[in-house]
């Protein structure tokens, strides 16, 4: 048990901070916000070439870096600090994790080089948006001779538009889940990007109509993937928590800096105790969120190494996502307040953090959603009917 970064990790994070400060500065973010798919493809290529972060979770045997989730969490923190807009979580974390966990040798050999070269992928599974685990899958996969036909709608798929291939979850007639690797340009696949309130996180609807799927496209030899979808949702939630910690930290830093400059009533507003106490409350939440995140990152790494205890990933993800979601909303909202009038102008960036706080709060489950998951672990189900069904 050790809560200290290695020297290598510290170096990775310092490099990340320096790179992103330049490559994801305010101008770059605002350019990505209005770009076709929510990011500038050239920026992504540059990140892939200069940083090679798309390779972190790809095994060394496949020319990846073979690093782990602690590195991922630290880099995501820095991305959160800079409102980074590219498809890193969708492709380099979630989709890559799916392929690493359940891809056949052949699938890995075909997909990993593409990802390493800068292509991107996205996992789609949400048929409904009030649940965030495998229970939300509504698409269907039915046999059609030697192949299958996949049909269904997927909502709120982050970074689907612009991706090169998709991982589509679907239900077999017996209720088991499968995940199919499907090219974006396959017949029957439609991706519709939507404008979003938080313009730094693009969302799309994916529709599959009679999409032909071969055996070779199914992950895990076509075996049941419900647990995998659940786990990937947790991996996604932990990734968002990392983004939230970074965004919270930057909101705090920016607000404290601003209050040290802004003069009202003849004093910097940082000298007012009410402002100082708000800042103290913000820092408490930032640091507590960071602790929850680092624990969750360690658990995610255990999961990657197939050595997490049952329920451990779910618990860690629920704690991190619930705490960090609420913390980011509080911290960025308070930061807007401390900025005062300019905080609500389009010109200042702090409002972008506030919007990202709200969009990452609800995505993959709000604080309340994840607390209820924890409550079920601690107390059992709430309703007597569910209780009896056990």
């Amino acid at each position: 048990m050790d809560f200290k970064f290695t020297d290598e990790q510290t170096m990775v994070f310092e490099t990340a901070a320096a790179f992103l400060a330049e490559a994801s500065d305010s101008a770059a973010v605002r350019s990505a916000m209005v770009a076709a798919n929510g990011y500038q493809p050239g920026d992504w290529q540059r990140l892939c070439e200069e940083m090679y972060w798309q390779a972190i979770l790809i095994p060394e045997a496949h020319d990846g870096l073979g690093l782990g989730f602690v590195e991922i969490a630290g880099i995501l923190e820095k991305m959160g600090e800079r409102l980074y807009c590219g498809p890193f979580i969708a492709s380099a974390v979630v989709a890559t994790s799916a392929l690493a966990a359940a891809g056949s040798d052949q699938q890995q050999a075909s997909c990993f080089p593409r990802l390493l070269a800068g292509q991107t992928a996205a996992l789609a599974y949400l048929g409904r948006s009030d649940l965030w685990d495998s229970g939300a899958v509504t698409a269907t996969l039915v046999a059609d001779g030697d192949n299958w036909r996949l049909n269904g709608d997927y909502q709120l798929v982050a970074h689907a538009a612009g991706s090169d291939f998709l991982l589509l979850a679907a239900k077999r007639p017996n209720g088991e889940l499968a995940i199919a690797i499907v090219e974006t340009d396959s017949a029957g696949v439609t991706i519709t990007g939507h404008p979003t309130m938080d313009q730094t996180r693009p969302l799309a609807t994916v529709t599959a109509v009679d999409v032909t799927v071969t055996a070779g496209q199914l992950l895990n030899s076509g075996g049941c993937c419900a647990q995998l979808v659940d786990d990937l949702a947790d991996i996604g939630a932990i990734s968002l928590a990392a983004d939230q910690v970074g965004g919270s930290q930057q909101s705090l830093t920016a607000a404290v800096d601003y209050t040290q400059e802004r003069v009202q009533f003849g004093r910097t507003i940082a000298s007012f105790q009410a402002i100082k106490h708000k800042a103290a409350d913000m820092m408490l939440k930032v640091e507590a969120g960071r602790s929850a995140l680092y624990y969750a990152a360690c658990v995610a790494e255990l999961w990657r190494q197939s050595s997490a205890a049952p329920g451990q990933l779910a618990e860690a993800a629920a704690m991190a996502k619930s705490y960090c979601s609420d913390a980011y909303y509080f911290v960025s909202g308070t930061a807007v307040q401390l900025f005062g009038g300019v905080g609500i102008t389009a010109e200042y960036d702090i409002q972008l953090y506030f919007k990202r706080a709200k969009s990452t709060e609800s995505y993959l489950g709000s604080g309340n959603y994840h607390r209820e998951r924890l409550a079920e672990q601690l107390l059992g189900p709430a309703s007597p009917a569910d209780q009896e069904a056990l």
Partner: protein
């Protein structure tokens, strides 16, 4: 203290309702439920026409004394009017700053000449007003106003130089009331004047501020040798603070009732959405909706208690909580609306950055706790003026 409504009030209610029923139709039907918070700039010309229609029916400025063209309506009747107006989906009022702030201030502090010049334009829905209090470096601290007004010795005319900010409606208004420093070198509350400045003149530039909503509810207003006749100074050249404070008293008075009716419409929309999208089953959402409902009802009873105290704009010290209360309530409603929508709240309809009413509410309401005195300033005021705690030292 009682809740009974007398017969005259009941008659008044049906009179309002039937007038609105008959008139909010035809060309005006499209205005129903429009122009609320975050939607202020929809159908501006049509809504100005609607103000004139209301004026023709005698339904603007009903609380003003009859001698100034009002109906001398009682507080109860004004409550009833606002209730029925909201029930009918009456559009957000464009004339409200004139009707509820500038008009009552002129009635209390203006000269007969000023009243004769400006009240009819307000009452008839022809002339619209905006507010010039806040400044970039002063925030909402009137004592720190830097805008200067200098009087020409021969003409008596004032020349105004400086900048105001957070001025709603500046693009659609004819006049702005401006607090400016008439005594060079004066500090704090002394040496301020209260000017009625025409916006349509070369010395005035209005610059909309793009906000986080993508729209521009507020403006910067630049005064560069803007001209104001001496006859458009309300009170003496050193009475600006008293006049401005009286106006703020009106801001916490009857004018709040109309705002609350808009809030009720928003809350109703949140409740309807919760019922239709299934989130009504979420106990935490239920608790928050009940909290919002209770909070809005209390806002109303707060107002009625305060208004029961007096009708001269000098409210009881309990009225000091009003801004902090409503801005916090409204901000919470915005967040509740988003949570009722769930993750779907992120999706915008159409192209560009077009927010639905509830999405706009969420973002726009973040301004509420800031403009017109931040929540921090409000808490200072409550502690110092209502609770008698020591004043915050200046640096």
């Amino acid at each position: 203290m009682n809740l009974a409504q007398n017969r005259a009030d009941e008659l008044f209610r049906s009179e309002v309702a039937s007038w609105l029923e008959q008139n909010l139709s035809g060309e005006f039907a499209q205005l129903r439920h429009r122009g609320g918070p975050g939607d202020e700039h929809s159908f501006v010309e049509e809504r100005k026409a609607w103000e004139q229609c209301m004026a023709a029916g005698g339904w603007t400025c009903i609380g003003w004394p009859e001698q100034h063209g009002g109906r001398g309506a009682s507080i109860e009747q004004q409550v009833i009017f606002n209730e029925e107006y909201a029930r009918a989906g009456g559009p957000g009022r464009i004339g409200h700053i004139g009707e509820t702030l500038m008009g009552p201030t002129l009635i209390a502090y203006g000269s007969a000449e000023q009243q004769a010049r400006y009240l009819p334009g307000i009452r008839e829905g022809r002339e619209f007003w905006c507010q010039g209090y806040s400044e970039p470096s002063a925030g909402s601290d009137l004592g720190n106003v830097k805008t200067r007004a200098e009087q020409a010795a021969e003409s008596g005319e004032w020349r105004i130089n400086g900048q105001k900010v957070w001025t709603s409606w500046a693009t659609e208004s004819n006049y702005c009331f401006v607090v400016a420093r008439t005594q060079p070198g004066s500090v704090g509350h002394k040496g301020l004047g209260f000017f009625m400045v025409a916006l349509d003149q070369p010395g005035v530039t209005v610059k909309p501020i793009e906000q986080l909503t993508g729209s521009s509810e507020f403006n910067e207003v630049f005064f560069d040798d803007a001209v104001c006749a001496d006859s458009d100074l309300v009170g003496g050249p050193e009475q600006g603070w008293q006049v401005a404070m009286a106006l703020l008293g009106f801001e916490r008075g009857v004018s709040t009732l109309g705002q609350q009716m808009l809030f009720q419409n928003e809350l109703d929309e949140v409740i309807a959405l919760a019922k239709s999208n299934g989130s009504y089953r979420d106990v935490t959402i239920r608790q928050r909706i009940a909290t919002a409902h209770t909070g809005l009802r209390i806002m109303r009873y707060n107002s009625m208690r305060m208004l029961a105290g007096g009708e001269d704009g000098s409210l009881s010290k309990e009225a000091m909580i009003y801004k902090l209360y409503w801005s916090s309530w409204h901000r919470n409603l915005g967040n509740l609306a988003m949570d009722v929508m769930g993750a779907q709240a992120q999706l915008l309809a159409g192209d560009g950055y077009q927010l639905s009413r509830l999405q706009g509410l969420f973002l726009y309401s973040r301004a509420d706790t800031i403009y017109g005195g931040t929540n921090q300033i409000q808490r200072n005021l409550i502690a110092e003026r209502a609770l008698g705690m020591p004043r915050e030292p200046r640096g």
